[in-house]
Symmetry: C2
Subunit: 249 residues, 2 copies
């Protein structure tokens, strides 16, 4: 049996706060063991890491102005999205999808202007600079405080090309096989398995999404135990397809 | 807390078997309550419904022969994939992605030739003809036997355009809000929520995927309780984007 526990009562997280301490304290009553999992939303990781930008400081260039008109978004916001992106994938009214410099194809380069504190709409929250490194730091901090080697996932909610609604995926991870390769394994009749790679990082993020809801609702982390994952530490960066291996377009 | 239990010992499921009975018996020890969830892989649903085809009976046409060369797949298999599909999305060596007639964009129209019994490679398993209806029938059968109104998800594993590895998604559902619309809701600071639609059907399927593994491993169903889902019964068909609303290409 797998158990998924929301971590309640974490409150607001401010820049510079020790997320490892806050989360370790929240998990302590569950007496975590090595191999258990902690899923944390990108949002509180970015907040703790001070990944903020201010729209009022952005000076939109020609591309941003053009895309802002096309998407009917704030040109300063679009400039910020472009600064975080390597490629524009789609721009239509209300929608700006880019490839983030980290490789993620997502809306608005993952930048969030809602609920980021007193500066209101002027303050924007960026993705962590290196989500796998963020997860590794959390893992080390939890180990130091609780003495256990947990698996850590930094998650965010993503739209999908052909399916409505968002699901949670792994932006970063440490201590888990975010992508598990079963190439060469056989089924019960001795045939090669049809599916050779499983995105465990994303499965875990989505499972935790059932208790976390959206970060806006104030449950930004979940504790999981009982997942019988294969051995191995494969970072979430491996979940990103190379551009030239994109099979769907 | 959410609990996810694998349903063990179900054994092989043959055509015409009463899946509702088999699954009700497997869940009975957990004493399910109304609102609890049952996730079943597409594979055992298709097996029970007799959704089989035989490669030896396929007569590949011109398009199938051409695509078979391009993808290096059996022309009879490609003919079967085309018969199930409305559009070819991508065909390269080893890969054939189509839009299934039901609307799903997926590899091989979801057709599975592995581990479908004694006929070996000749026997192919198709998707259920109407996965939401399959889920509704299961829901009715479980209600009749156990007296509870459970939510049912028929799941399958899908690849994604820009991410490696497969995740479980909802092909069909009954009694759950597979897609939940929060349009108009506000965050804690009174701003409109950034994310307005949540694909709960897919989150549940992925959560169950953590205990089911692949169907090939013989754990084709999971029982979940403690999910505090919003009210409403939205079928999984609503998870499919209209072609003209595809935001990513």
């Amino acid at each position: 049996m797998i158990e998924i526990h929301p971590l309640l009562g974490l409150g607001e997280v401010d820049e510079g706060e020790d997320l490892g301490r806050i989360l370790s304290e929240a998990m302590a009553p569950f007496r975590p063991a090595s191999g258990d999992l902690l899923v944390v939303t990108q949002k509180i990781v970015s907040k703790a890491e001070g990944r903020v930008a201010y729209l009022s400081r952005m000076r939109p260039g020609a591309q941003a102005l053009e895309l802002a008109e096309k998407t009917r978004k704030d040109p300063r916001f679009v400039e910020l999205v472009l600064a975080e992106s390597s490629e524009v994938v789609r721009a239509v009214p209300g929608v700006l999808i880019t490839r983030h410099k980290l490789g993620f194809v997502m809306a608005n380069a993952g930048i969030d202007c809602s609920n980021v504190g007193p500066h209101g709409e002027d303050k924007a929250l960026l993705l962590p600079a290196d989500p796998d490194a963020s997860a590794a730091r959390l893992r080390a901090s939890v180990h130091e405080r609780l003495g256990v080697e947990m698996g850590i996932i930094v998650s965010d909610s993503f739209g999908r090309p052909w399916r409505n609604g968002v699901v949670n995926v792994a932006l970063g991870s440490a201590g888990v096989p975010a992508l598990h390769d079963r190439r060469g394994s056989k089924d019960r009749d001795g045939r090669e398995l049809r599916v050779t790679q499983i995105a465990f990082g994303d499965l875990i993020a989505s499972a935790a999404g059932l208790v976390m809801g959206e970060a806006e609702e104030g449950i930004p982390a979940a504790y999981l135990r009982g997942c019988n994952l294969p051995a191995g530490d494969v970072p979430s960066a491996k979940l990103l397809r190379n551009i030239d291996e994109d099979l769907f377009r």
